[in-house]
Symmetry: C2
Subunit: 340 residues, 2 copies
């Protein structure tokens, strides 16, 4: 029997189409493992080609005496510009803002071939440190109201360069998905006197059936009302509204949980194209009691069709509980390989 489930955070309904149901393993890409070289002469993100990108705004290690392990640069093809002011105008109810913002690229490592699940945990922690460093620095700018940090892995997920990298976009407005969640979170807090995310995480940890992986400070789980197969959330167990507030200890744990989760997807589903996003509250939200940041991981296993696009309501053919069971069983002990 098909089933409709309501997303607890947005109150949006999704259809879990069990009549069309697929076993999780049917969604594996069956993609032959690619031989990717670790250095590509023509790649602007490979070591030695630093002059082909805009000057870096951050590098680890900070000392220029050592080769870099993580590099942050302004996006050469930025969607928004930090050179303009966010001037607003209104004409016949049509609102515009001049395109102020920051658009940066985080180069995950010097190695062209190693995507995030194949990097050592300590290196993933370095990438997360770079995220937090840029998040904190840009948050101070009073024109910035929200910062989205995200990863496109694979062409179908929007990656135009193969060298593993992440991106950051700082906007003068709150993106709609965050806005809807803030609205519902505020309402739940007023109704129930608690953070709706904390509440849900506690219940899910009790229930176990959708949990994929649990660390000391983070838990990764399949989404109860997942819009697409294998949609996964990673939540900090401590209440925090802003990604900028993550501690060093928490970064080390998130690195382990995120890498292990991505490795389970990489191995179990045979390296599908994938996006992940850090969904933080607005930059002013440090200390907010009603919102809770998290990481949303979306493997790109299906295409969005007319019904989804036109209604915003999704049809998901994989039961989230089956997806969780599948991912729990994928062993990732040796995924980081020689470099671990």
């Amino acid at each position: 029997m098909p089933e409709l489930r309501q997303n607890f955070f947005t109150k949006e309904w999704v259809i879990i189409a069990t009549e069309r149901a697929k076993r999780p393993e049917e969604l594996a890409t069956h993609r032959a493992p690619q031989e990717v070289p670790s250095f590509v002469e023509s790649c602007p993100f490979c070591p030695g080609n630093e002059s082909r990108t805009p000057p870096e705004v951050l590098r680890y290690p900070v000392s220029l005496a050592e080769p870099w392990s993580v590099r942050v640069i302004p996006n050469k093809f930025a969607a928004l510009s930090s050179e303009v002011q966010p001037t607003r105008s209104l004409q016949h109810l049509r609102r515009r803002i001049d395109g102020f913002g920051f658009h940066e690229v985080i180069i995950d490592s010097p190695d062209h071939s190693r995507c995030l699940p194949l990097l050592p945990d300590a290196h993933v922690a370095g990438i997360l440190h770079a995220y937090r460093d840029r998040y904190r620095t840009l948050s101070v700018d009073r024109r910035v109201n929200h910062i989205t940090i995200f990863k496109n892995h694979g062409a179908d997920a929007g990656a135009s360069l193969q060298h593993p990298h992440s991106q950051l976009i700082a906007t003068p407005v709150i993106p709609s998905q965050v806005r809807h969640r803030l609205h519902e979170a505020r309402r739940h807090y007023d109704d129930a006197g608690e953070c709706m995310f904390c509440h849900m995480v506690e219940r899910e940890v009790e229930d176990q059936m959708r949990i994929v992986i649990k660390g000391e400070h983070f838990v990764g789980m399949e989404v109860f009302a997942a819009a697409t197969p294998f949609a996964t959330h990673i939540f900090p167990l401590r209440h925090m509204a802003s990604f900028g507030d993550i501690s060093d200890l928490e970064i080390a744990d998130l690195a382990r949980v995120l890498r292990a989760l991505l490795a389970k997807i990489y191995i179990g589903l045979e390296n599908p194209d994938l996006n992940f996003t850090i969904r933080s509250g607005p930059t002013e939200y440090s200390g907010a009691r009603h919102f809770h940041w998290y990481v949303s991981v979306i493997p790109r296993l299906t295409r969005v069709a007319g019904f989804e696009l036109g209604s915003g309501m999704f049809i998901n053919t994989v039961l989230p509980e089956a997806a969780a069971e599948f991912l729990r069983k994928v062993s990732v002990e040796h995924a980081a390989g020689a470099g671990a």
Copy 2:
């Protein structure tokens, strides 16, 4: 300079990335015209294969003495089932509904090769009559709260069968995109005492710059804050909250406007994959003053990447005014060819 624009109906912001701007013609598929046969022996939607689909729930002409021109059947791989009741349950704030609903397929014509822009206006009107007929019939069912009618054209737009067809999904809940629009529409009505859609359509018709095509009863325009290139809306000029209230005269005009618009896209952008959706108010909305139904047309010219997926905020690389100018210039006089 890039620009942020706010969607008037949802208050969502989009980035119009003029720094990365593309001229409209750059997005053409450059796809070689395909030789599609008008009859395919193995196609379940081709004439003679009627027994391979579930029994029809509607056919035009109604008389069985004549061959059918439009046929409506239950979807063999339905996402929802009319055999179950929409029983609700709530456990730890996790809401579910048993998967009640209707999922039907409208076979546009017996001709395997003729997609909608290549059909005569009168035939398109027949398809719209079938939409309205099913809309009205299913609206009477008190368990149905919303009906989405949509078209997937091409594999990237989610079409799994090539034979031109549309679909209808009747749900016991209001899809999220409609829900957000209802909320904003109600608020605008309370604030301004008018339908926000009527207001916007009037201003756009005055301004002209985003108008693509205007009929007697319908107007097609590029969306001011389009999330994706060539996102186009067709509005009825008369205030109507429910698609079920469209008159025969209006159907004839919508057939002309919709076909001409799709033909402009078909010719100008070289047959891109495409979705359109009829966005009606809830089934109970006949007579509602604050909402206004419309058709949303989305050519699938770009991929959704991590930022869009993770934030709900889109980056559009084509200026809507340039898209409108481009489409206005595409001549479609002979598009319907021999069959017109």
